[in-house]
Amino acid sequence: MTSETGFDPELYKRFPVREDRPEGELEELERLWEQPKGWARLTIVNNNYVGLWYVAAAFLFFLLAGILALVMRVQLALPLQGILPQETYNQFFTMHGTVMMFLFAVPMMEALGVMLLPQMLAARDLPFPRLSAYAFWAYFVGGISFFASLFVGLAPNGGWFMYPPLTGKAFSPGINADFWLLGIGFIEISAIAGAIEIIVGVLRTRAPNMTLDKMPIFAWGMLVFASMIIIAFPAVIMCTLFLELERAFNWPFFDPTRGGDPLLWQHLFWFFGHPEVYIIFLPAAALVSMMIPALARTTLIGHDLIVLAFLATAFISFGVWSHHMFATGMPRLSVGFFAAASMAVSVPAGIQVFSWIATFASGKPRHNTPTLFVLGGLVIFVMGGLTGVMVAMVPFDWQVHDTYFIVAHLHYVLIGGALFPVFAVFYYWIGMTSSRPLSERLGKWTFWLMFVGVHVTFLPMHITGFMGMPRRVYTYLPGGDLTFTNFLSTVGAFVLAAGVLLFLVDLARNFRFTVNKGAGNTYGGGTLEWLPTGLYSARSIPVVKSRYPLWDDPDISRDVEEGRYFLPGAPTGNRETLITSPVRAEPQYVQIMPGPSVWPLFSAVGTAGFFLLLTIEAYIPSFASGILAVLCVLRWMWDTDRVAAAEEVDVGAGIMLPTYVTGRSTHGWWAMVILLIVVFMLFLMTLFSYLYLFGVQPDFWQEPPALSTGFVALGLYGAAAGFAWLGRRLLAREKSTLWSPSTASIVGALLLLPALIADYWSVSAVLDPVMSGQGAVAHAFLANQMMLVLIAALMALYLGARTARNLVIRPRNNTVDLVTLFVVYTAVQGSASALIIRLVSGAG
């Protein structure tokens, strides 16, 4: 057996160790992981709590958006009703779609990840607990304020995909659209924070020997999910930024009379928007693949094929965005390509559906509530998938596009592919977080009401679409025969709602929150989240030998509980978890984890304040709030990157692991690299926009500034990267004082600013951001760069402060490593955008 890190796999044979653990060790662990009480609960960062808050908040948004849907169904029950006036209706459907997609579906999947992943991987927590807390608070505060815009009549009214020019300043002069653009842009940032956390968590905090092929399928699902967020969300952040810039400063990204193009929005939006559907579906499908083995009492058939299906789905989903644009008059050849690709997505979906069927067939299915929700979801999802194949057939799409047929299709896919699985999850995993399980009797009623409700609501909508009813209409005319199916849909919606209401009753009667006295493994699952847990998760971290350790090793729960595996105590006297290698999960070092802190909460409130105050054009309070947020983040960072008293500690069976490591194997380095991928995607989307407008609006393309005008900027960027690199080198040399390496790093970071100014100087002399789409995107490159340069400047200040306090550790230090990485990246991206602006020439 080879090794990834030099760790000797023979060492695993020492576990479970025979000797009993010393007295007082467990009490120490409990003391370290004890959570604050009273108001201080708000400072909790532990995943058991934050995960549940997150799930609860997402579910709250589901209920709110569902109520909006009910009111809309009442309005549409009969023709020409006046229950919801036009403008209110337009706000309602925009909010329904937006809230369901951005505040329920994606956050719910992240929330389930935060709640379940550490336990499934037998980690003590996710690697960046404060980042999860920040992501949650930012989402919750931002989401509630966003929703509240509805009560003052200022909610966005442009539809959840916000097509310009309708959403531009000329046709939407109010701040409604700004609420969407800033609110959602901001919530995306929280989603990205969560995604970084999940990727690092899955790849670096798995239990020892949980190699990739033994990893639970939910971890695979979340890994692909989070990677897709990293790739896709920058596209929507970029296009919301563009539209906000167009609205605020009149930069014509989407104005065809000035060299922009309304379709640029659609390309960017759907490059995000289509993968978004799979971003929602994949984790839910992965959860189904986790539950079915327990519900069918057998192992999952086709595990490897399902993993392949995840990867294939992710890959294909980035090639099908244009199928939302078949009716825009695209060239016929590309239409054919996107039709074929859209159909191809059904292969990985088929793999999963038939894996589930095969697993049920090979086992002895239990007929209980989670099984019902899984099966009902499967049937609904298949029906939605089949109408999906229908609309992938381009000419058919030309008829049903933007009609109620599509409304039916997308609800079938999302309800079957995500909502029913989530309800199954509630029943199945409630025992982890509640001392009482939910009622099987009420659960079955809930299921049948919801299942029947879904079909009565959405099946007739297919016909409503064929009848010619477009989506997003606040009313319809009598005499067009639309009344019958619409009325039926309204009845169905209330049946569905009755099911959800019954679920709430069940929750009220049976849900009793607990972390360590859960009702437990009601359905007999075989994965690690069903190990006995305390506030610290599992007492010790087992060596994983199979995909279903609890089934294959009957003693594992007892051995874990008695501390016979890794990290049975807290050898550094802190909260800690094991960091393992990405492929073979070989133990690498002990990560010291941060405890409760109020700073993530404050910085989230500050960030939310920045965006919301910006929306209502209160600029000074907004910037004050933004600065507050930055200071809080820095304060929370301040406690990190410290050295523990012992350089190496015994993590069990005499195995010694370091407590402080630097370089590429650290979880911090991984997070920074993933963050830089996000930044790079933002850059790539800007580049796409630049080339796209170059292609479709050649008449507006001006001769860019000469290449030679960029030499000063390029030189300064080069110097910045050089100094940053020098700083890191100097730190490793014993002779220099601590200030000389830090000064070099700080100079490197600060040199980025004159480089940017030099670039801006020569670009703005030739290109005007208001005059043309080209000028607007060129300045978007610069705005992008400005954001990075400002962050680098903050990093320089932070590094200076740490140097002054002697917190920079020699010879290598994570803070310096990350600053260097960031500055070098910023210099490279700055050089690239300087070159691109000058090289894409209309004359060429």
Binding site: G302, I357, A358, A361, V389, P395, F396, Q399, D402, R472
Partner: protein, 325 residues
């Protein structure tokens, strides 16, 4: 295109409007899609049947059947082979079935420019040199049996032109011209509606395509051409009111000094089937109601309410407009 009669009769008692427009094509460009719809629907039902049958066996089947289903082979067969075969066949068949949609229109085909505006449709019949021959709004007249090319544009935001019985939809995008072919096989009125959300009263942005026998169509167009040259002032009260109330700021009546281009052209408003962009039948009562307070009928539209005008004035205006044929 023929349509499956059996389905029609069995559902007729339930749906007054069956078959729905998408499945009731009136021309070749909607016809091939209608056939495709039935093929796709059949495919969906068969595949759903296969999945449900497999699921039924997995849950309730005998041990022998279940053990056959409980292995990797099923995934390869049902999850990979089945979709690939079905989808490839479907793609090839579907694209060949609807080949007629991609062919260019015959040279010399009649061309009409249709511009989506918030929340109505500007119609301009083009002559053979591409110049505007006649203006109209919210109603499009075409000859039966001839392919007509529509140049779809937008004046403000994105709209989408959709007459389900004649063709699939195509967006109207600012800065672009999209070409759509339509052709009606039989005379009649075919309703349509804006399909891309365009804000405000998007729900009430309909229109009508009227197909005439070719001879009649040419007569109508010739009459309209002739009327352009000479439209003697009626001298009636309605005409004076039209001027004094400021109607001409937005509306045009060809052959008169009324020349506003911001709103719908009213030259032939008396012949229109509908008012308010496809939402009201056109008669004196609805005309008066629309003039008096269009906001009550179609909230948010650009026509201000004229409730200050006395009822007599509104009636005279309506009478005047009725005569615009």
């Amino acid at each position: 295109m023929s349509r499956p009669i059996s389905t029609r009769s069995s559902l007729e008692s339930v749906f007054k409007g069956w078959p729905p427009p998408v499945l009731d094509p009136a021309g070749p460009y909607a016809g091939s899609i209608s056939v495709l719809s039935w093929v796709l629907f059949a495919m969906a039902v068969v595949v759903l049947g296969v999945v449900l049958a497999a699921l039924g066996v997995a849950l309730f089947g005998g041990q022998r059947l279940k053990s056959r289903l409980g292995g990797q082979a099923v995934i390869w067969l049902g999850g990979i082979a089945l979709p690939i075969v079905v989808l490839t066949a479907l793609l090839v068949y579907g694209l060949s079935l609807t080949r007629n949609l991609g062919t260019p229109a015959p040279p010399g085909a009649m061309r009409v420019q249709v511009t989506g505006e918030m929340w109505w449709w500007r119609v301009a019949y083009l002559d053979s040199s591409g110049k505007v021959a006649l203006w109209d709004a919210n109603e499009l007249h075409i000859p039966v049996g001839e392919t007509v090319v529509l140049e779809l544009r937008s004046a403000d935001v994105i709209h989408s032109f959709w007459v389900p019985r004649l063709s699939g939809k195509l967006d109207m995008i600012p800065g672009r011209v999209n070409l759509m072919k339509i052709k009606a096989d039989k005379p009649g009125s075919y309703g349509g509606q804006c399909a891309e959300y365009c804000g405000g009263p998007h729900a009430l942005m309909g229109f009508v395509v009227v197909a005439h026998e070719p001879a009649e169509f040419r007569r109508i167009m010739a009459d309209r051409q002739a009327a352009l040259a000479s439209k003697p002032p009626s001298g009636g009260r309605g005409e004076q009111l039209f001027a004094s109330a400021g109607c001409a700021a937005c509306h045009r009546i060809a052959g008169t000094p009324f020349n506003g281009m911001a709103g719908p052209d009213l030259t032939h408003v008396g012949t229109r089937r509908t008012l308010g962009a496809g939402i009201l039948p056109n008669n004196r009562g609805t005309l008066m109601g629309w003039i008096g307070n269009a906001q009550a009928i179609k909230p948010g539209n650009r026509m201000p309410p004229y409730s200050v005008l006395p009822a007599d004035d509104i009636r005279d205006l309506a009478l005047y407009l009725e005569q615009q044929r």
